[in-house]
């Protein structure tokens, strides 16, 4: 494949691209989903292809394909350069890239158990164990799945870089549905990360399945959450949504360049209580968003976004680094070979505090404790926060009270962060995928400690 890369890079140079790169991907994914102890889907996917980028007069042209022939890749390089020129003629303002030193490097991930060495039977058995364990009174349907993705990348650019690396991720999840009369409730729980099959094998599947099913049953008697502005002890997953959806997306350099972020011009200003420190860290060992290089070949990096309540800075691609005269942070990422590069997060989290989690509850007279997230949505322009939780609990006089149905937390992010007055020492990261707007999903994680703050709560 090296010949393919070399051929494309030469063509980009020949066609006059001021910068260009070509990235090959070979992606293998395995998924087995079991519903009611029967295989619903077993899917083995192989997807290979390449994407070529050309940068001409401040505009980008992309072309991608799947053919193995050097002539097809050269043709794509010609096309990408021509598209960039067409774009530039439409009046793109001058932009610039931050040139990175050229390097040649190959990175293999540390895997205890390579998923390729695990039999299909074992993968099915792991999911089946979790599915069977969900069987209990009032559980109407059980679901469990295991999956792993193995992606090999190779990248070369006109600055002389030639990199190859491999990213492997695994995931186990369970989704039981509980029913009673007309009421249906569901809970989703998963374990994931970068690494080998050990991520799944190290889980006690029986206990995992029973725990999530018991929680779904408990949800049948959960009460409607209170609504209004109140004290909330948010769990690490929901804290992660605040880190990721609001502060993270709004710190993406492309949003800053476009002045689309409420954090534009905020470096050095106080944005949260002095307890609040937040990072984006693509080097975090084993986390779901960990990458050796971004899609432009920049090594991943740990970037401080907030330190002791003070806003420190932005995440960058080669282009936003060039425009903002900053150091690239390894955040130029793409969903796959056919998709464009955006500035994207990796693992984004609040640093933990020192108090035990129970102390946060004991010191709360009334409020809510959240449990697990469903989704969140970014609002870089307005700085608004929205997080939907799976469930939660009422806190009354320092004790955990009745279970609550899923709730939505919202409010202005900076007001929430400035209200943070306690952080737990317990800390967790949850993996997932993150889109930019509606599309362009990349693997990430987000998390933090239990965090006490003031937030608007509503529930259906």
């Amino acid at each position: 494949m090296t010949d393919l890369l070399t051929s494309a890079v030469r063509e980009l140079e020949k066609r006059g691209a001021s910068f260009g790169d070509v990235r090959l991907e070979d992606r293998s994914t395995f998924l087995v989903r079991i519903v009611n102890e029967q295989i619903q889907t077993m899917n083995q996917v192989r997807r290979r292809g390449w994407g070529v980028r050309a940068f001409v007069d401040g505009a980008w042209g992309y072309a991608s394909g799947t053919s193995n022939s050097a002539s097809a890749v050269r043709e794509a390089a010609r096309k990408a350069t021509a598209i960039a020129r067409t774009n530039a003629e439409a009046g793109v303002p001058k932009s610039r890239l931050r040139k990175m030193p050229s390097r040649t490097k190959s990175v293999e991930p540390p895997l205890r158990i390579d998923p390729r060495d695990v039999s299909v039977e074992e993968k099915i058995a792991a999911a089946m164990e979790v599915c069977r364990a969900q069987r209990m009174d009032r559980i109407s349907s059980t679901t469990a799945a295991t999956m792993h993705a193995d992606v090999r990348f190779e990248l070369a650019n006109t600055w002389g870089a030639h990199l190859s690396w491999r990213e492997v991720r695994a995931r186990l999840f369970a989704v039981p549905v509980a029913a009673e009369g007309d009421r249906h409730e569901s809970v989703t729980k998963f374990v994931d990360g970068t690494g080998g099959w050990e991520i799944v094998k190290d889980v006690d599947g029986g206990a995992f399945g029973r725990e999530v099913a018991a929680e779904a049953v408990e949800m049948l008697s959960a009460a409607k959450p209170p609504s209004g502005l109140m004290t909330a002890v948010v769990d690490p997953g929901v804290a992660g949504l605040l880190a990721h959806e609001v502060m993270g997306h709004s710190s993406e350099g492309d949003e800053i360049v476009k002045a689309r972020s409420f954090l534009t011009g905020q470096v050095g200003k106080r944005v949260g209580s002095s307890l609040v420190t937040m990072y984006d860290d693509g080097t975090y060992a084993g986390a779901h968003g960990t990458i050796p290089f971004d899609a432009e070949g920049t090594p991943s990096h740990k970037t401080a976004i907030i330190e002791r309540g003070v806003y420190r800075g932005y995440l960058h691609s080669l282009e936003t680094s060039g425009v903002m005269k900053a150091r690239p942070t390894g955040n130029g990422r793409a969903q796959d070979f056919s998709r464009r590069v955006w500035v994207r997060m990796t693992n984004t989290y609040f640093a933990p505090g020192k108090a035990p989690k129970d102390e946060l509850i004991e010191e709360t007279k009334s409020g809510v404790l959240t449990k697990n997230w469903v989704m969140g949505m970014e609002d870089p322009v307005g700085g608004g926060f929205q997080a939907v939780t799976q469930s939660g609990f009422l806190i009354e006089d320092g004790e955990i009270g009745p279970r609550l149905r899923g709730m939505t937390l919202t409010g202005k992010a900076l007001e929430i962060l400035k209200s943070v007055d306690m952080l737990s020492k317990e800390f967790a990261l949850d993996g997932g995928t993150c889109g930019k707007g509606d599309e362009d999903y990349v693997p990430v994680s987000a998390g933090g400690p239990y965090m006490r703050c003031k937030v608007i709560v509503g529930g259906g």
């Binding site: 083995q44 992309y62 799947t66 029913a179 989704m375 609002d379 608004g384 939907v388 509606d438």
Partner: protein
């Protein structure tokens, strides 16, 4: 398919898809990135007795077939039997739905897509101080072929246009943003300048919006785009035969019962002219047909793919893999029960008339992200573009508020249905599409900062 059978499968089904994509990304009012992509892929389902396996691959050349077949045959040896598997479809159909594939769109080049994008930008910039921070305009031209060992051999082709746009107004200190999406099968059918004007208007309203304070139980008039997603997440899931069979539907055992207000009729219409999901065959090759799901508020039917149709005693024709915002990845998943074009029967009232009939309420054009729990129906969504209604008139714009309630209960409290259908797509690359008018609901609560 033939090679799979000669390698040891009793039966096989091959789904092949090839597509081209042309996109233009606007950033800060100008086309910043444009692309031209081509891809083809194959999804292969093989069976031996009651064992079934699915594998898929990108198709760059004929040499890609050998490994995907070998992988499928190997998987057949290892999967347990599925007692409910009864073979692949044996009936199919031929033909095209009018407007599902548009010749001019298929022939468009990247310059045409860039032109649509710049026309949109002009529409935004016609409003003083308005600009486009980012927007995507994308066109896809695709063709599929489904063949199986029961002699089904069917084809379909389509074009898809997807626009996801933003506009902003205001100063460095205070910015308002509007968001607008649009989907069609024809690049030439959308009025890009009008889209630009509308999203700029939303941005201005967002800038003028005040934080909503207190709580209000009031009539909520929901704009079709986000409402369509909510209907796909609830009606689409509850009427899904796979979910019914697996006891994961909120409408199990409700056939013949009231699930919505008497004015609500919902059909799945795979042969809707110019429909985003329209086709005479589903992605298993089965013939498609209109299905009534809810008639005058009463649950009348479930949707099903071939596998679940026999188990539930209903018709097949809803086995899909293709999404309508993009066909990317369609070959990499097996066909499963999904909606095609889920259509809420429109009423006769304009949006203005719907609003005029509300004494006290809120008109919501955009949520942060529509998200309803498909099992319980509960939701609480942050509003991004909303306007209070008093005595039938739109009053002040509001933000920083949640609309909450139970959507299944809300469907039983529909107090108004608009006349203009707008298409929307399901989340991510999930198949499914809804054509929904604006609708007015009682029983939801708007909660703001107290």
């Amino acid at each position: 398919m033939k090679r799979a059978r000669s390698s040891g499968a009793d039966a096989a089904e091959a789904f092949a898809i090839a597509w081209t994509t042309k996109s233009a990304y606007i950033e800060d009012d100008v086309p910043k990135v444009a692309d031209d992509r081509q891809e083809a892929g194959l999804g292969l389902r093989v069976a031996r007795g009651k064992r079934v396996a699915f594998t898929s691959t990108t198709l760059a050349s004929a040499s890609d077939l050998r490994p995907v077949i070998a992988m499928a045959i190997e998987a057949l040896r290892r999967v347990p039997e599925d007692p409910d598997f009864a073979g692949f479809p044996a009936e199919s159909a031929r033909g095209e739905v009018a407007g599902a594939w548009d010749a001019e769109t298929a022939a468009a080049d990247i310059a045409d897509v860039i032109e649509a994008a710049t026309t949109f930008t002009g529409g935004v910039r016609d409003r003083k101080g308005a600009s486009v921070p980012k927007a995507i305009f994308r066109m896809q031209d695709y063709a599929i072929r489904v063949s199986n060992s029961n002699a089904v051999d069917a084809t379909h082709r389509g074009t898809l246009v997807f626009c996801a746009t933003t506009a902003k107004v205001g100063s460095k200190d205070k910015v308002g943003e509007g968001i607008l999406k649009a989907l069609h099968t024809s690049l030439g059918a959308l009025d890009y300048a009008a889209m630009g004007a509308r999203v700029a208007q939303r941005a201005a309203e967002n800038l003028a919006a005040k934080p909503f304070k207190g709580k209000m139980e009031a009539t909520a008039v929901l704009d079709p785009m986000d409402l369509g997603e909510m209907i796909l997440q609830t009606v689409g899931a509850a009427a899904n035969g796979k979910n019914v069979h697996r006891k994961r539907s909120a409408w199990i055992g409700k056939m013949g019962q009231e699930v919505a207000s008497v004015g609500v009729t919902i059909r799945d219409k795979p042969r809707l002219p110019r429909g985003l999901a329209s086709c005479v065959i589903d992605d298993e090759g089965s013939a498609t047909k209109d299905r009534t799901i809810v008639q005058a508020g009463i649950l009348k039917g479930y949707l099903s793919d071939h596998y679940h149709a026999r188990l539930l005693g209903v018709a097949s024709g809803n086995g899909f893999r293709r999404a309508v915002a993009t066909v990317e990845g369609a070959y990499a998943r097996p066909a499963e029960t999904e909606t095609s074009n889920l259509v809420v029967e429109p009423g006769t009232r304009s949006l203005e008339k719907l609003i005029a009939e509300v004494d006290r309420g809120v008109y919501i054009e955009k949520f942060a992200a529509p998200e309803v729990n498909e099992y319980s129906g509960s939701f609480a969504q942050e509003v991004r573009n909303a306007t209070l209604i008093k005595d039938g008139e739109l009053r002040e714009h509001v933000k920083f508020a949640l609309l909450s309630g139970n959507f299944y209960e809300g469907l039983k409290k529909v107090v108004g249905i608009g006349r203009d259908l707008v298409p929307t797509h399901a989340f991510l690359s999930q198949p499914g599409c809804a054509y929904v008018p604006a609708m007015a609901f009682d029983g939801f609560e708007l909660v703001g900062q107290t």
